[in-house]
């Protein structure tokens, strides 16, 4: 097959079989994939670590495990170590007998086997299971300008936007293949032109907008385009501190899941916006104004797909994407204050806060961990999406302030303030 892409001598040799038939197929996959998007060359992956989306040993993905075996047997393993999305199971998370049976014996019966494959392929360590691999406590934090072969939409949008790294919205398997061969096709967000904004978002709300609601509004409007956001620094300041990063983590995840955003710029805040300012905006950029009424319109548009819309919630998930240390601490204080106000000792809905194993370890070193335990809130490293993504959990009335979880599952969305009322007071203001 003839390719338009300009390959180096080494890349052409790999494609021709110099490193074996399997490696040639890996290169062929990436070249063909890149050519569909007009990639003109393959560029070196420069980040220290990779990040993969497929963390779950779902029995249904047997063909993927067979492909992984093929790669391992041929020695086509990752040149980089990698982190991977969260595990789908955790005994700390409430589940009934039937769920346990279905999860462990049926759905995720290949979990141990698959984790063994991940170790052979280059897993960073046994705790490297999180969607927020970029947290300091996890240690997979790319530098500005690094070229990545990541997947996981919430991690990709964070790496591009908040860290200034360069990564396309890759699918599972493609992510690993870039890391195996050490090159990715250069198109989209890897190019300067692909990082320019075709939307200007003007924030004109009267109070700090809810991160996941604002992200949803932006995502649904711009879909896969790049937005440049103005008026945000009024609420977030002009320093990328822990609070701002946490906010942008949740905002970005919602833009990526409610739309398909892979990169956004925030005026005076995110690295490229600080460096290049409005030169990042395309001449014909469209404008979307977000005020209080627009956020209410978006919120009211969410369908509630529970069979009984008035059902009492049986579970609350916070942390999709995984919570930061800063969030665990501030939420401990919020839950304590809410319970005190309501005259309750413990949360009235079983509640799970999810975070990366490394973040949870650091949290356990603080006095807040014991304080949170006393409120009855459970902490876990689980992926709420994987917990919810089956017919049994779909029937459960689960609430969340994650717009990603709302989009992909039957979980019902509430704002952070509403969630706090639900879990501390049972929905009564």
């Amino acid at each position: 097959m003839e390719y338009k892409m300009k390959l180096t001598e080494e890349q052409s040799a790999i494609l021709g079989g110099s490193r074996g038939e399997t490696m040639a197929k890996v290169m062929e996959t990436l070249v063909r994939y890149g050519e569909l998007f007009g990639a003109d060359e393959m560029v070196a992956v420069t980040s220290k670590y990779n990040h993969l989306v497929t963390s779950f040993g779902l029995k249904a993905l047997a063909p993927v495990y067979a492909l992984m075996d093929q790669l391992i047997e041929a020695g086509a393993v990752s040149a980089q170590k990698f982190s991977v999305d969260p595990r789908p199971l955790d005994k700390n998370v409430p589940s009934n007998f039937i769920q346990d049976l279905v999860f462990k014996k049926f759905m995720y019966s290949k979990q141990d086997f698959y984790e063994g494959q991940l170790e052979k392929l280059g897993l960073m360590d046994k705790d490297a299971f999180t969607c927020t691999c970029y947290m300091d406590e996890v240690g997979n934090t790319p530098k500005k300008g690094d070229v990545l072969s990541w997947s996981e939409s919430s991690a990709v949008v964070y790496a591009n936007s908040v860290l200034g790294a360069r990564c396309n919205r890759n699918s599972g398997i493609i992510d690993l293949m870039g890391s195996i061969v050490g090159y990715v096709p250069s198109f989209g967000f890897l190019k300067d032109e692909g990082r320019r904004a075709s939307w200007i978002i003007e924030i004109k709300t009267t109070k700090k907008p809810e991160a996941q609601l604002l992200g949803s509004a932006v995502g649904m409007k711009v879909m896969e385009d790049v937005p440049y956001i103005k008026g945000f620094d009024k609420w977030l300041g002009s320093e990328l501190d822990d609070a701002a990063k946490t906010y942008l983590k949740d905002f970005g995840a919602a833009t990526a899941s409610n739309g398909a955003v892979g990169l956004y710029h925030v005026e005076n805040l995110t690295p490229e916006a600080v460096e290049l300012g409005e030169s990042l905006i395309k001449e014909d950029a469209k404008v979307y104004v977000i005020d209080d009424a627009e956020l209410k319109r978006v919120y009211d548009s969410y369908p509630v797909i529970w069979k009984n819309k008035e059902a009492k919630p049986k579970l609350c998930f916070m942390g999709c994407p995984h919570m930061s240390l800063n969030q665990l601490i501030t939420w401990t204080e919020k839950v304590e204050a809410g319970l005190k106000e309501a005259g309750n000792a413990k949360v009235v809905i079983p509640t799970v806060f999810t975070a990366a194993p490394g973040v949870l370890k650091e949290f356990e070193k603080t006095p807040y961990a014991e304080r949170l335990r006393k409120t009855g809130v459970i902490t876990s490293y689980i992926c709420p999406l994987m917990y919810m993504n089956n017919p049994l959990s779909t029937k459960m009335p689960v609430i969340t302030s994650s717009n990603k979880l709302r989009t992909y599952t039957s979980a019902r969305y509430y704002t952070d303030d509403e969630i706090l009322v639900q879990i501390t007071k049972g929905g009564k203001n």
Partner: protein
């Protein structure tokens, strides 16, 4: 009969019945039942897609604008092909998205034969014209014949 011309993503030549989604296809939600719960007809399980929900996707010429959803999308399509629970072909009105592209290329390179012919860039008019049940014939040069 109306003829459309698109770009060949994965080559193929076949005739099949059309199944049309006017919204994006959430790949994971749509194929989960087929892969996880042994549904050999690949009945679409995505409740948020009124065009496809509950309909058989196996063996159909799936006409759609794009795929959406989780970045597992590409490997889900790959698995559907490996387990022989895939549509006859996928015909995109828009340029293909990165997740569907991954699924198409992975299947073409790593599986025997050409399990999932894919054509994209067929244009909005294609999706306006084609209806469920119409006879679709695709050719290796990206020609799509729609016989109402």
């Amino acid at each position: 009969m109306k003829i459309f011309k698109g770009r060949v993503v994965a080559e193929g030549s076949l005739t099949a019945e059309a199944l049309v989604s006017h919204g994006g296809l959430n790949t994971l939600a749509s194929f989960q039942k087929a892969l996880q719960f042994g549904d050999k007809k690949a009945t679409c399980g995505d409740q948020n897609n009124p065009d496809l929900y509950g309909k058989q996707m196996l063996g159909k010429a799936l006409c759609l604008p794009r795929t959406i959803g989780s970045t597992t999308g590409g490997l889900v399509l790959y698995c559907a092909c490996a387990m022989k629970r895939q549509p006859a072909c996928m015909l995109f009105s828009e340029p293909i998205d990165s997740l569907a592209a991954a699924g198409a290329v992975l299947s073409d390179v790593w599986l025997e034969g050409s399990p999932l012919p894919v054509i994209d860039c067929l244009g909005e008019e294609f999706l306006d014209y084609v209806k469920d049940g119409m006879k679709i014939t695709i050719k290796p040069d990206g020609t799509v014949e729609v016989d109402g």
